[in-house]
Structures are given as C-alpha cells and as structure tokens.
Symmetry: C2
DNA sequence: GCATCTGACTAAAGGTATTAGGCAAACTCG
DNA sequence: CGAGTTTGCCTAATACCTTTAGTCAGATGC
C-alpha cells in the first residue's frame, strides 16, 4: 500500500503523454492505472470519472496551446503574427497529436467557460489589429482564421495532403500568403 | 431463431441513424444488436468488428455527402457553385451530426482509397474551374477551401460560434464572399 | 424432399468503467 | 511524541462492451 503520490495534475500530464504516444482514444482510466502500476479504482480518488479525465487533458492542451500562441505573438504584428500563430497550431498538432485531438474533445459549457478558449479567440483578434477591419467584419475574420487553422491542421493530420504534390508545407505557406492578402483587402459587403 | 434479415447495409444504415440520434461514439455493436432485437454475436456474421462497422458508417456518410455535393454543383459555376457546395457540407453536418462525425473517422489507407474522398476533392476542384487558377495554386486553393469548409462546420458544431454576435449564418455568408473575392484575385507568389 | 449453406443462437473469456467499503500511511495538533 | 483524523490505495463486486467458438434450425438449390 505504498503511496505512489497520484494527483489530478500528474494523472492529467501522464494522460496527455499517453495520448501523444498512442492516440487520445487510447487514454483510458485502466491504461493510466497500469502506467502508474496502481489499481484502477485508485484513480477515482483523484479524477471523477473517465469523462473528467479527458476534460482535464483537453483543458491542459488548450492552455498549452494558448501559452505557445501568446509567446509566438509577442512582438509581432501583421503577417508576421499571422504566420507565427498559424505555425503554433500546426506545429503543436504535429508534435503532440494526441493532445491536439484532446483539444477537440467536446467540453461541457462550464468546462468550456473555464478553458483557455477565450484566449484563443483573443489571440486571433490580436492578429487582426495589424489589419484594418471594423466590426462585424473583424469577427467574421476571426472565425475564418480559426476555421482555416483548425481545418487545415485536422485534414493534414488525417493524411489528407500527403502522397500528393505539391507538399503540404508549400500549400500552408501559400494559404497564409493568401489569407494575408485577403485581410489586407477585405471585400465590402455586397449589395443585396 | 426467426431470421431478421440482417445485412451489412442495413446495419450500416441503422448505425448511421443511431449516430445522428445519440452521437457517433454511442454507436456500438451491442446497441445495434439491441436495436434489431438480436443477440450481439449475431452481428459478427455481417460485420467484421466494431471498427469495421464504424468504417462502413464513415464510408456511407462520405458517399452521401459526395452525392449531395454533385447534385448541388450541377449547372452551377463560380460563386454560385462555391456557395452551393459549402452549404451542402454545413447543412449535412446540421441535419446529420452523427454521420458528419462519422465522416471524420480515421480510415485505414485501404478504406480511404475506396472512399468517396477523391470525389470530394474533385468537386472542390470543379468549383475552381470558375476561377482563373493554374497549378500549383489550384491545389493550394483546393486545400484552403477544404480547410475552411471542414474547419468552420466543425467549430460551429462544437458550439464555438453560438452565444455571440454576429450570428453564424452572417459569418458564413461573409466568409464565402471573402473566399470568392480571394479566388478571383489570388495573389501571385511572393518574391523570396 | 434432401443436402447444404448460412444466419442467429448459446457460451465463455477478457477489457473498461464505476461504486462501496476497508485498512494503513500520512498529516494535525495538543 | 502520540492520539485522532484524514486520505490514498486496496479488494470486491457489478455492469457493459467486444470478440471468438461451436451449435442448430430455417432458407436455398437441385
């Protein structure tokens, strides 16, 4: 009965590592118990249930991603900032696929409110300070950028762009060029 | 021992319905057996295993989506086609959230090759015939559009755009306007 | 009608999630 | 420091879900 020193934080970190190694869907209470060489039931003192564990991993990933984003944005503006933030998402997904998948975990409204989600949209909005967009176009642009970042990274992770020319890095660069051009020249609302 | 008349197709369709009703992750061999009032083991004559079942549902969803896309693109071009295809994805995700989630199921390379995946990229490429883009920019644009469609719909489904102004429909419309403008005025490669 | 095939069944083993209750290690405080 | 309390990990038990093996009867083909 030697105490191993489990804590919600250690379990969450270990779960995140497991996710990166084997996939987020392989993260289970049982597997985590095995990793600590502890009986399954023991984890339930630290984590409410399986869903709670996954939520914690998701929140960890969202926070890490926001931290990296903040760091990358510091001192940059305009296209430089756009590229920096975009690369943060892409690199994170590449380096930590399980955590990135975890960040997509459907959160309850309460968990979402307590998450770093707001920081993410704020970062995207910060990029737009380098462009001349008033509301509501700024919000539209925030949503567009979020969609492209998330969509591209997801499709790339799913293997959608491999095995075909041109390579993904080139598309990524050109897409960011194109978004920069679009933001600099955002179209006026069309006449109905 | 009355024969119920199970077939892989019926199981797949029922699984897709279950996904829309309760979520793709609630689709299990057991639940499906209950739905047909049949013992669990009976399903294994028609479906290799749980993964196979999910793959079939994913393939069904991808095919349905491609069918709707084809129908929507018929007789349209330019921005009209762009909007039509984009709406197909968004509407499908809204009407069949479980199937849309299934379409994201990670396929093995063989399953992916046999899927309607190629039709999807061909449809996007067809849209670009209305714009003046030569390779490799056309491929970059295909990837951009795929990212936006998928990314936006996913974020919207996750509730990312609810509870905040402007409403999602308005952003969607303006984002499609913006993409149209971008495609009509695709930036030349920047000088290195 | 008979032989065959096949679809659904029983049985069984193994994995995951979760709860209840027990015991000992670690903390707390006089 | 030692008594009392808290807390962490344990055993035990229940309930699903998945998957395989082997059986039997209903459907099919000649």
């Amino acid at each position: 009965m030697a105490r191993v020193g489990l804590t919600p934080e250690r379990l969450t970190r270990a779960g995140a590592e497991m996710a990166d190694e084997a996939g987020f869907d392989q993260v289970t209470v049982s597997a985590l118990a095995r990793r600590f060489d502890v009986k399954v039931a023991s984890l339930y003192s630290h984590v409410r249930n399986s869903h709670d564990l996954k939520t914690r991993i998701a929140l960890l990933a969202l926070a890490e991603l926001a931290d990296r984003g903040s760091a990358a944005l510091a001192g940059r503006s305009g296209k430089d900032a756009l590229t920096a933030l975009a690369d943060v998402y892409r690199d994170y997904a590449r380096d930590h696929p399980g955590r990135y998948a975890a960040a997509q975990f459907r959160l309850t409204p309460e968990a979402a409110a307590a998450s770093a989600g707001a920081r993410h949209s704020q970062m995207t909005r910060a990029i737009l300070r380098g462009y001349d967009l008033a509301e509501p176009d700024q919000t539209h642009a925030v949503r567009l950028l979020g969609s492209v970042f998330h969509g591209y990274v997801t499709l790339e992770q799913a293997g959608g762009f491999s095995h075909s020319a041109p390579d993904s890095q080139e598309s990524w660069t050109r897409i960011l060029d194109a978004l920069d051009a679009l933001l600099r020249n955002w179209p006026a609302t069309e006449a109905g």
